[in-house]
């Protein structure tokens, strides 16, 4: 069902990113990626936390560059 033209080539190369939590809701969290590299908004269950989530906390994750795989 899902068609794509290419398989991604560079997704194994992951880089370290940090971000700041900018919004916390019951269901979601918004994060600005440090270095003006964009922002993401994710459901709460996709973030692992030792403490209660608050605006201003720093988060970190590994991510590869995003590749276009269809025309």
């Amino acid at each position: 069902m899902q068609t794509q033209n290419r398989t991604p080539k560079y997704i194994d190369k992951v880089n370290y990113y940090e971000g700041i939590i900018t919004e916390v809701h019951d269901g979601s969290v918004a994060i600005d990626i440090k270095g003006r590299l964009g922002s993401i908004r994710i459901p709460k269950r996709m973030i692992i936390s030792d403490y209660e989530l608050k605006v201003g906390q720093i988060v970190a994750f590994n991510m590869s560059f995003i590749e276009q795989i269809s025309n």
Binding site: T3, Q4, H25, G27, S28, R45, E52
Partner: protein
């Protein structure tokens, strides 16, 4: 790095590879071997070849005849003699199904176990407790302790089978749903009172609008906002309490709750299933409408920005339940002559059989990640407590309470893997365990998944303690979706496993939902994935637990409890593992396991084309 003696014993059948350079004449011990856990990476990167390597068990105690460098496999011609492995190689065919006795030549019956030897091939030895081997073993059990229990039927009931409670479902057929002056059921026609929507809206401050539609099969190509929940319409008869007595249920009609905020943001914005119904619903999944069902759809509008706050989705559910409740009251009035079918569920305890509990992890992070537990009416609201307010601690329910709608699910994100209220109404794992005469099904433990790690470990320790107190020998742990709920999911398995209880885990994993953490007790897992690509494909119910998964988990647990081992998982998700297991089960039990369809059976939606495919 060398490995410990204990670890070497656990990996006695893994290839022996030297961790450091060893001179000829060295007598090999566990100090000399590399950790087998890292071999996959080394092999895939070409640094290590395992061809011809003998196992750690065979190499232990042997003397090297050649000097070998580190990371060299120990070959047959490098040692003076190949040791006989202490334990017979645990061939245990993957998630093994218990073999029926007619598969091989029975060689011996000893110690309460039926030993089958299959001569052909590589000399596979299977040990199966008498209880699992059907009638064939009954003759041999006479003299043994009898703890394993005889096969089934009258003999088993003589061993103290006890029906704890019974639930009867009376089914009423509905062929048409209309709007009318009052809510009532006449024959097979359900009338819903005109204007009931306004009353429902008035009960909830956050709900600003509610629109009711009747969608029949010929109108399935209708646009719908994201589906929040699918609910059966059922009510208790007389003074019956939830989980026992008599329940009345309407067939061929379900309640379907959908909604957005005033400005049109979907409730459940992450991975929502809005679109044409026929393209976004996996019909027939336990949690979904069946193809042909009449859908009573409520489209709710809630206050802006409340879609991701806890009170928003809850208000939508409460308002919609006002309508369902009025139908329930009408259903209570019906005459028994309209009953088309009666189902009876017995909760049977079987002392002497292996005691098993089902642990169901439900979401408890807040917002729509919440569930109302134990309402007065099946899948109702009144009388129920949200598991978030109960601090997500374990709540033990009887299997019949589950089948009677003790969970009103606010259902989380991830349409493909979320378990809607209807899922619990016909939960395949509960049904499988309930009908399995070879085990003693003790109960269902619901545990919420909180947000914060310390809370996750708090609740999982309670799960471990509950299982310990229940004295179970086996447990199946299920979860819905993926994300940080896998942290506590794996912790539940650890807490149960460390108490010597055999555990099987069930989750959507595949490609996208791989576990983020692990421990040594996660040895048996069943993947609920059905999607072609192994992803959350936004088709409602696609990757939820189905009978084909329940059969595998049940047999896997029984195999584990019988002392079998489960093959290690492959490094990457491989859908063939499932098909091989299903084939094995079909061959051994003689009952073909029917696999459900996946998203490829649906017409491809425009949304999907735009989002995932190369839309031309």
């Amino acid at each position: 790095m060398s490995i410990s003696a204990e670890y070497a014993q656990e990996h006695i059948n893994d290839p022996a590879v030297l961790c450091c350079r060893r001179e000829a004449g060295t007598k090999l011990s566990h100090h000399d071997f590399e950790d087998p856990a890292i071999f996959d990476d080394l092999v895939s990167s070409g640094l290590l070849k395992l061809d011809g390597a003998i196992t750690i068990g065979q190499a232990m105690g042997a003397t090297l005849t050649k000097t070998l460098d580190s990371l060299n496999p120990v070959l047959k011609d490098c040692v003076d003699k190949v040791q006989e492995a202490a334990a017979p190689a645990a061939v245990s065919s993957a998630p093994a199904a218990p073999a029926s006795s007619n598969q091989g030549a029975t060689t011996s019956v000893a110690g309460g176990k039926l030993k089958i030897h299959i001569g052909e091939g590589k000399g596979i030895d299977l040990e199966i407790p008498m209880g699992l081997a059907g009638g064939a073993g009954a003759a041999g059990t006479g003299a043994s302790a009898g703890a394993a229990g005889v096969s089934s039927g009258a003999a088993a009931s003589a061993g103290g089978e006890k029906v704890v409670r019974t639930l009867t479902r009376k089914h009423y057929n509905i062929t048409e749903v209309k709007r009318g002056k009052e809510t009532k059921i006449e024959g097979t026609t359900l009338y819903i009172r005109k204007g009931i929507e306004e009353e429902a809206v008035a009960t909830q401050e956050l709900v600003h609008d509610l629109k009711l539609d009747i969608i029949t099969k010929d109108k399935y190509h209708t646009y719908s906002e994201t589906i929040m929940d699918t609910q059966p319409i059922a009510t208790k008869e007389g003074d019956s309490e939830l989980g026992s007595g008599v329940t009345r249920v309407l067939d061929n009609v379900v309640m379907l709750l959908t909604g957005t905020t005033d400005e049109g943001v979907q409730i459940g914005e992450f991975g929502s299933s809005e679109g044409y119904l026929d393209e976004n619903v996996m019909w027939g999944r336990p949690s979904c409408p069946d193809y042909g069902d009449i859908l009573i759809r409520g489209t709710v509008k809630i206050e802006n920005k409340k879609n991701m706050e806890r009170p928003g989705p809850l208000a939508a559910h409460k308002a919609f339940d006002v309508i369902t409740q009025e139908i329930r009251m009408a259903l209570k009035e019906l005459d028994d002559s309209l009953v088309v079918n009666t189902e009876k569920f017995d909760q049977v305890r079987r002392p002497g059989k292996k005691k098993v509990a089902l642990v169901k992890e439900i979401m408890g992070q807040g917002a729509m990640h919440d569930n109302l537990i134990l309402p007065v009416e099946p899948v109702g609201v009144l009388g129920a407590h949200p598991n978030v307010d109960l601090c997500n601690v374990p709540v033990v329910c009887s299997p019949l309470e589950v089948l009677d709608g003790c969970i009103h699910a606010l259902t989380c994100i991830g349409p493909a893997s979320k378990e809607q209220s209807r899922h619990y109404w016909r939960e395949p794992m509960v049904l499988e365990l309930l009908h399995d005469k070879e085990i003693d099904f003790a109960g269902v433990i619901f545990v919420g998944s909180p947000q914060i790690n310390s809370e996750k470990f708090y609740v999982s320790r309670r799960v471990g303690m509950t299982c310990e107190a229940m004295d179970v020998e086996g447990a199946i742990v299920t979860t819905e979706g993926f994300g940080n709920n896998h942290v506590d999911f794996t912790s539940h398995i650890e807490q149960i496993g460390m108490r010597g209880i055999k555990v099987v885990g069930m989750s959507f994993c595949a490609k996208q939902g791989a576990l983020v953490t692990g421990n040594k007790y996660i040895e048996a897992m069943v993947d609920n994935n059905k999607s072609e690509a192994g992803i959350e494909n936004e088709i409602l119910g696609n990757n939820t637990l189905c009978p084909e998964d329940a059969v595998r988990a049940d047999l896997m647990l029984k195999a584990l409890m019988a002392g079998e081992s489960v093959k290690k998982p492959e490094k990457e998700w491989n859908p063939n593992v499932k098909s091989q297991n299903v084939e094995l089960i079909s061959n051994v039990t003689g009952k073909p396991v029917e696999l459900v369809k996946n998203e490829t059976s649906l017409p491809m939606s425009e949304k999907y084309k735009k989002k995932y495919a190369n839309a031309k």
